[in-house]
Symmetry: C2
Subunit: 342 residues, 2 copies
Amino acid sequence: MKIAVIGNGGVGKALIELFGNKKEKMAAEGLNLTLCAHLDSQGGILDPDGIRLPQLMAHNQHNLPLKEYPKGGAPHLGLEEVLKIEDLDVLIELTPTNKETGEPGLTHITKALTKGIHVITANKGPVMLAYHRLKKLAEKHEAQLWIGCTTGGALPSVNGGMMDLAGAEITSIEGVLNGTTNFILEEMKETGCAYGTALRKAQETGIAETDPTLDVEGWDTATKLLILTNVLMQEDRKLTDVVVEGITGVTAEAIQKAADDGGKIKLVGRAQKTEKRLTLAVKPEVLFSDHPLYGVDGKNKAVRYTTDTLGDLTLMGGASGLIPAAASVLRDLMNLHRGYRY
Amino acid sequence: MKIAVIGNGGVGKALIELFGNKKEKMAAEGLNLTLCAHLDSQGGILDPDGIRLPQLMAHNQHNLPLKEYPKGGAPHLGLEEVLKIEDLDVLIELTPTNKETGEPGLTHITKALTKGIHVITANKGPVMLAYHRLKKLAEKHEAQLWIGCTTGGALPSVNGGMMDLAGAEITSIEGVLNGTTNFILEEMKETGCAYGTALRKAQETGIAETDPTLDVEGWDTATKLLILTNVLMQEDRKLTDVVVEGITGVTAEAIQKAADDGGKIKLVGRAQKTEKRLTLAVKPEVLFSDHPLYGVDGKNKAVRYTTDTLGDLTLMGGASGLIPAAASVLRDLMNLHRGYRY
């Protein structure tokens, strides 16, 4: 299988590590990877015979740009050169998310699919803005678009809804899909502190970003919910269809009141289908111990699906970090190799 | 896709209902089923052009044996005739489980795979006794053996370990895999009653069987744990390798003591891999609220996997009943149709 990777941030580097460390395990399943190209924003490496993984891992150890890689490294290398590689099977797209334009991922994915090259992406932008268009493009060119990493990383939320519930109809999606907000709410409950204090602790420990807006205002959850809804319920909604309320207004008093009643406040994303309509909402909710999402603690994530014939299914887990995120890209690659048509 | 079904108990009948009710949904995914044969213990129906589902559903409404079905129904119809159907794609094997011999399922599955026909089975016997032999046979004849229904019905335990954790190595399996024992233990906790009382209530409400031995002595859990271990950890263990303790010795006092400490007693099946060895055990354990299986209530089931690169994953759900069990067979069929190689 000939692959190319675009993006060399933390997840990109972790993926190269996994390719190196899991080489034998993959080969035992008949998956022999040839990494033909790897790009970052300054250029990249092109080697149709296959970039040697141990050497690339050593190169990355020194945090050098890819263009400085001895064999095949070059500045100004771009997607056009990569897509000219003969019989390229898969493009792995790991550029940063832009929720307004989807670029540059959207262009990368469009061009690869148009050439009949499968795409695996961890980039939410193109998926939330243009999933159905890209899916149709993929079908037209007999390629596949895999997006398992876009909705919770290691948590197999798309997998769960698609493969684990194959043949059933999903009637509702509920998710605790953002680890940062879950951590902040738990911190407030455990210590009784105010929102601002818990946020600062999350920032100090690297859990929350310096600008935490996307997380705490609920937009990260909304984005993931939107993708799950569009992909698993065959909808074509937009972010503006989601009613979003974040956790910035949650007070220590509200958390204490919920605790007194035996509950916990969690930021829940919810897609609910009735005969007539579908509602999409993200908001803080009090959950009690009989709710499957009650036990989602710390930086964990979870999603619960309700179906017509397979009952309820809750998936909980989704370790945070670069290795799990990269492993969720590898999961898509593995399932693609095993023949699954997305 | 040309299919044949062996077995016409509750799950078999529910599967026919699903085939009928989900016909359009399946067709929308490109899956057009032709049911060419359906056998029960007295004979069956053979119609290479396809048994008409509405008529068969109506026939089943009257609880008549298949041999009395007007078009193609016949006594003494057997597997040999079924396997002679030209281009038969899939055999769905739903005969009752025999844990000593695996028969008659073992013979059915062996013969079908030998002819290169894919098999989907809900029969635990052949899977626990001969999974690896059957798997090799399947590979030799380019057929596939799907077993998703054998370890928790609607709970996608095999799916979860195989597809949701593709590319990761599973280092431990923990499961609350038996709804009957979970119900009994919860009843004891809620009402403070003795084991015998809770068992009777479970029997009266149809949750426990008249002879509950396999459930309450832990053998059902052990069987499921064994299958998951052999399939997902590539082991080849036997039921005698599992240390099994059921719930018959659990006292009301022990449950009260656990509750006082903030815990719940659950029957847990556990496969734990260390560098040197693998241990397999089923026994009642006290779980606390920080354990993902703590919240598995009522007749629910759950399994938790620990992995090398994808963190932990807990799958919880698995509605009981004939429709969910049949829907888990349909899930395998759907994933087979989507190209997944098991």
